[in-house]
Each structure stands twice: as C-alpha cells, then as structure tokens.
Amino acid sequence: MTFRVAAFGAALLATTALTAAEVSAETLRWARAAEALTLDPHSQNEGPTTTLMHQIYEPLIVRNHAGEMEAGLATSWEPSEDDPNVWVFTLREGVTFHGGEEFDSADAVFSIERAMTETSNFKELLSSVSEVRATGPYTLEIVTDGPNPLLPNNLTNIMMMDQGWAEANNAEAVQDYAAGEDTYAARNTNGTGPYVLQSREADVRTVLSANPDYWGVGEFPLAVSEIIFTPIQNPATRVAALLTGEVDFIQDVPVQDLQRVNDADGMEVITAPQNRVIFFGMNVGAEDLELDNVDGANPFADLRVRQAIDIAINREAIQQVVMRGQSEPAGVIMPPPVNGWTEELDAYPAYDIEAANALMEEAGYGDGFSVQLDCPNDRYINDEAICQATVGMLAQIGITANLSALPRAQHFPLIANGETDFYMLGWGVPTYDSEYIFNFLYHTRGEGRGSWNGTNFSDAEMDEMIVSLASEVDLDARDATIAQLWEMAEEELIYIPVHNQILNWGISDGWSTLVDADDSVKFKYFEAE
C-alpha cells in the first residue's frame, strides 16, 4: 500500500517536471507583490493598476524608460499658434481597438472627458482643462483655462477607450463605489495596446496575449507573445517562484535576496533609480505639538532644530546598513529625472553630531525632547527599518522619537487628517515636473492644493509663486520661478530628505529589458535572448 502511494507520487512529480519544461519560449510569467485593483482605466490612479493598463490600453503620449515623452496614440502635439490656451494634437491613423473599432478623435474626446468626471481618480491631472474638441477625424484640441505649457506631461497615463464600446456596454461612467455599482469596464477591456486580455481572476491569474493587429508591430521587439501575471504577496514565496523557474520575471526583489538571485544560475537582477523619494515631514506650523513633552512650544517650529535633525541623520549609514546599498541618498525631496532638479539641490549635508548638538543647545533644547515618529510598515522599501535607524540617530542629539509603525491604511490618514507631528512619506512625480511637488507638498493646505502637506507650513509668497507656475507660458521664466521656490524650500527645511529608492527587477536569462523609472513595466520592449 505505502509503496503504491509512493510510486503514484513519484509519477505525479515526474510528469509535473515535464509540463513545467513545456511552457513555450514566448510566454512570460510575471509576478509582483501587488495586484491591479480594477480594469477600468480611469478609475484607480495607482502603480500596479496603471502598469497592467499600459499593456492593454494606450495614452496619447507615453513615457519611455528614461521618463522622456514619446508618441503614443498621438503622433505630434504643439501649442496652437492662434490661442495660447490651446494644445493641438495630431492622432495616429489606422489604429484599431482589440474589438476591431477604429480609433479616432471622437474616442479621444470621449476618453479625456471620461477621465475628468467626478468619480475618476485622474481628474486632478486634468483640472486645468476646460474643453476637449475634435477638429477633424485625426486632430484634437484641448483648451485649458489659461496657458498650460505642461499639459502633455499630464496625459501620459490617460488611456484611450472606444466610445462606441463604452456606450454599448453602459460603461460611459467611471465606477462610482459609493453608488455600489458594478460596471462592465471594471471587468472587461477594449484597448489599442500591444496585448489583449484573455482571462482574469483577480488575485490569482491574469492572461494577456499579443495583439496581432497592433500598430507598433515592427517598431517594438514584441518578443513576448503571452503574459501570465500572478500576484505573489509573500516576499519569500515570490523569490522562491523565480528561483524554481515557475515565474520568469518578478518586479520587486526584496533587498535581502538580491545576492541570492544574482548568484543563482539562469537569472539576474536588473536595477535603476526609481522615481520615488523618501523623506520625513515635521509639523512646523502648530503652536504646540500633541505628542511631545514640551509644553506651550513647538520644537519643530525652530529652524535650528530642523537643521540639527538634518545633519544628525546619517544617510550613508542608512544606505549601507538598512538598504544594503540599494538607495541614492538625497538632499532634496525631488527624484533626479524631475524638471527643476540640480546636483546642488540634491547635495546633502555631512553627518555631524557635534554641530547638531550645538544647534540643539542654541535652540534651547540642549536636554532634548520627546516626540512621536509615525511610519508606514508596508508601503516603501524597508520603511520601518529606516525609521528604527533614524530613532537611534536622533537619540544622539537628545531627541527621543517614539516610533509608531502602522500599515499604510492607518498611516496615511494621519497625514490627511493632520494628526501627526513627525512622519515618513514617499513621493513619486508622474508629471516629471517640480510643480507637482509644490502643489501637493508645499502649498498651504486648502481645498484644491496642499492635500499631502501635513506640516501645517504656510507661506503666502510661496503659494502665489506656486499658483503662477500653472499658467506661465515662458518656460525659462517658469524654470526660474521653480529654482527660486526650491531655494525658499531649502531654507525652510520643512522636510528632511533621506534617499531615492532603487528598483530591483529579477528576470530570467531568457529575457532582457530596461528598468522603467516609474516601475511601470512595458512588455512590448522585452527582448528574447
């Protein structure tokens, strides 16, 4: 009896080994920690969802690996010569959707207007748009309220849908969760992209196959004929799946396993700096802090205390010990590819405990103080470990930081509700322009702007300059304003930058690609080796 069971088991194992080897060479099995939330291209503006959408749908303008804008469904775009408030787009001809429908300007108008509706998560990117109009079957005009030189930057994740398909399936509206509705577009797709959705079971498996009628056939490698995507949340399991050859590509190799993957036969880790900077924010605007031991005063309101923290944080130690070399220490809360970044801004001060203690003494906090440090523990690479290291460094200048590490769902509301005095945040810049950072992180918190500014910092002069960026047509003048704003921001030091993250993709030797700074994989660029 036992012998028979053993023989049956061995037979099973032998046959699975065979089937695993039979996967065709063009199929690429892809895993990452996070799953796309929905298939509606205008519903959720977050990384994993957008990444999946980029295989199926396409925007007018796409970004390449380096973050530069390239022609997508629009072949050219320029400001109108007659009206400074208008951008003119020429659309690509002869493009069809997966369902066979022609792509034309009516679809583009429909899609952009759909992304501007109340329930779309992309509407902020299009807040300056007042009208979208088709001037011909393949020409499009976008009118903004006041000149907006950066409009194209905001279109790189606005996907194009087919108007007829959406209307026929009652999917004109972006899903409204509140109304408790279940929409067709959240389960089905019809894009112009290089891959067609074959099947999808959320959290289990999503299968895409190459689109034979793709307009880019011949222009891109398109070596992958089938993509099988599986989210694998547990980091150890994800690495194991790559090591065993059950998947060919994982998008997030944990830093402790980089060596392991590189040493293994038949696979490697490819890296690139990510468009995401990690930093600490301090509540500088409050009269008195909630969770500190100083009564009637706010130590963070004193610039000298903030400068002391800035030089007490040993960024290189964090890079070497916590991140195992996988980070780029930063001196400004702006990733390098962003317009406005300079090497001078990104230079960070030397680690100097003596000078830091002197500054604390001068500020009247020679005996230190205690405060709560709020951190996420499931959002950024080694987020909690960075905070633990920081706590130790701050202790050297007398600051007792009580670490409270929470899941993202509890951490971010603290910033939104203004309930934190000292917190970690990470920031990526999808528009590749400084204005985006100022709008969300430096502008006084109000209805439209400053929604991520948890520091209570408010400077009327800066606010005015930030607002002016939106309509400054002269790009040189605009860049000068940006430079001036960064100078002011550096002086105020309401945020303490730590580092820029580095992306680590694990890939089997059968494939090669370049790492995308936005962590947005584009499989049409994958080449077989």
Binding site: D40, E201, V204, T237, A240, L243, F412, G448, S451
Partner: protein, 320 residues
C-alpha cells in the same frame, strides 16, 4: 425538545449579531479606505466627498445597521478593492479554501490516527519516541515558518513541488476544483501539510492518550485472557472506543482549519477566502471584511449548534 432547539437557535443569532457589532467597532481601528481608494492626486475635497458617499461619517452602529439590513436581503455590498459584488467574490474564492481545508483535515485525520495508534502500541519504541519528539516541534513552529521551510526544501532545493498557487483548476458548475488536474493535485501537497500539521499532532496525541486509557480497561484484559491476537484487540476492540471523542474534536477543529487557512494561504499565494481577507484588511475593504467575518462566525456557530443538537439526540439525560 422543540423549545430547546429554538432557544439554541436564538442564542446563535444573538452571538452572530454581537460578533458583527464587535467586528464593525474594530474596523474603525483598521484604518481608512479613503487614501487607498483615491491615489496620490487626491485633494481634500475628494476625501470629504468619498467619505460622505461611503457613509463613513455616520456613527458605526448606523453603518452596522445599514450592513445588516442589506445583508439580510442578500446584498453584501461592493468590494472597495475590486469593485465587484462581495457575494460573487466570496463564492469564487470559497472552493479553494474548502478544498484545502478538506485535504488538510483528511491528512490530519489519517496520519494523526495512524501515528496515534502506533505510538500508543509501541509506547517505548525508538520510532514512537522519535514521532513524539517531532510532533512537539510541529506544534511549536509557527505556520508561516513551516510553509517557508517546505517551500525551501521541496520547491527551491529539490524542485519537486510548486512553490505557490493552485495549479490548473477546472470549473464544475460554479465550483472551481483543483482535484481534476495533475498540477492542481500537486499544488495541494505543501499547503495541506502546512495547514494540517498542527491538527495532525493534536489528533495524534488525543488518539494516543485515549488508546492508552482504553488499553487499561477491563474488557481489554479479558480479551487478552481469551487469547485473542494483538491485532484483533488493537483494531477491533480498542480503536472503536477510542474514535468517539476523536471524531467530536475533529469536527470542531474543522472550523479552525478554515479560519487558520489565512496564514497558509498568504505564504502559498493560495487564492482562497483567507488571502482575500488579508488583502481586504490591507486595503480596508470594509464590505469584504464584514462579509468574511460574518461567514466565519456563521460557520462556527452552525458547527457548534449541530454538535449540541447531536448530543441531545444521543444523550437522553439532556432532554429535560
């Protein structure tokens, strides 16, 4: 008898209501779905609008009441994370968990009983002592560690078994089963062992102590005096009387196997309701969390109710 059953059913409903209330009170500490739902480009206006429309500004007992009223009508709401009806998502996920739990339970029963008898009969043998020692290790190691160790040994080092997922599944009506494909069967091995190991050691120790007790009973002594063979004594007379309490305990453990599946499913990326629940917690997907907790509590309450009623049927002294 009828009044007793009615009383028990009413008690069960009350338990369910209290579980739901506690669960809803806890959701306030899980965090806020708003930021996970809105993405980076949200303004303060968006936050307020969504909060209002999801009814998150209402007092929690009002939210709870709304949930109950809808749930009674069979509407469990829409998942914030996937934007599909919760009932549909749970129906899709339940087969994976139930199949895993069934295989784990079977594994635990079979090996638990076999090892239990073995260690009871050969009480001082080397093999029995080894099994007892190993079972202690099995009880003390946390589930996720066992899972990762099994993956390391059998998937990474030996390449015998898959490290994650469910393999290929076949749809039979509304049920997705992994029993009909080879990759599905192979994929069940490691997660089942991970999930069933603790239960197996529990059943093994229970069988062993029951068996030892039975072996000391008078009728076993008489059986020996009659010159019956060891095999007949062990398996015909002793085992039968050992299994009554074992089956009771196993039935009650079935509920906890399904509840404990959460950790195993996370380690093996097993697409069941446990993984669904973990994802829901991370996203603060309140409709899914609420539905899952209600589902688990309904299951526990139902199992307990059935067991209680069976006891009443078996034991005449309870019918007063």
């Amino acid at each position: 008898m009828v009044s007793y059953i009615l009383k028990r059913i009413l008690q069960s409903v009350l338990v369910l209501l209290i579980v739901g209330l506690v669960a809803f009170a806890m959701f306030r500490f899980v965090g806020d779905p708003i930021d996970t739902m809105l993405g980076q480009e949200r303004t303060m206006q968006d936050i307020e609008r969504l909060r209002e429309s999801l009814g998150l500004n209402k007092p929690f007992f009002v939210q709870y009441w709304d949930f109950l009223v809808r749930a009674v009508q069979g509407d469990l709401g829409i998942s914030y994370r996937q934007g599909r009806p919760v009932a549909e998502i749970i129906a899709e996920r339940l087969p994976a968990t139930l199949e895993l739990a069934a295989v784990s339970g079977l594994f635990a029963m079979v090996f638990g009983i076999v090892f239990g008898i073995f260690t009871a009969i050969r009480r001082d043998g080397f093999a029995a002592n080894t099994i007892m020692t190993l079972s202690l290790i099995g009880v003390s190691l946390p589930t996720f560690l066992i899972g990762v160790l099994l993956i390391y040994v059998f998937a990474v080092e030996l390449s015998w078994l898959p490290s994650f997922g469910r393999g290929d599944v076949v749809q039979v009506g509304g049920w997705s089963t992994g029993f009909l494909t080879q990759s599905g069967l192979v994929a069940l091995i490691l997660p089942s062992i991970t999930l069933g190991l603790y239960q197996m050691t529990l059943i093994m120790r229970l069988v062993r102590s029951e068996m030892l007790e039975v072996m000391r009973a008078d009728y076993i002594r008489f059986a020996r005096a009659r010159g019956l063979k060891d095999r007949a004594i062990h398996f015909r007379h002793a085992l039968k009387n050992t299994l009554v309490p074992v089956i009771t305990v196993t039935g009650l453990q079935l509920g906890s196997i399904i509840a404990f599946a959460i950790i195993t499913e996370t380690v093996f990326q097993w697409p069941g309701v446990g993984l669904l629940f973990i994802n829901a917690i991370q996203f603060v997907d309140i409709p899914v969390m609420a539905a899952y907790l209600m589902l688990i509590s309904v299951m526990f309450v139902a199992i307990n109710l059935v067991v209680d009623l069976l006891y009443v049927a078996i034991d005449p002294r309870l019918r007063t």
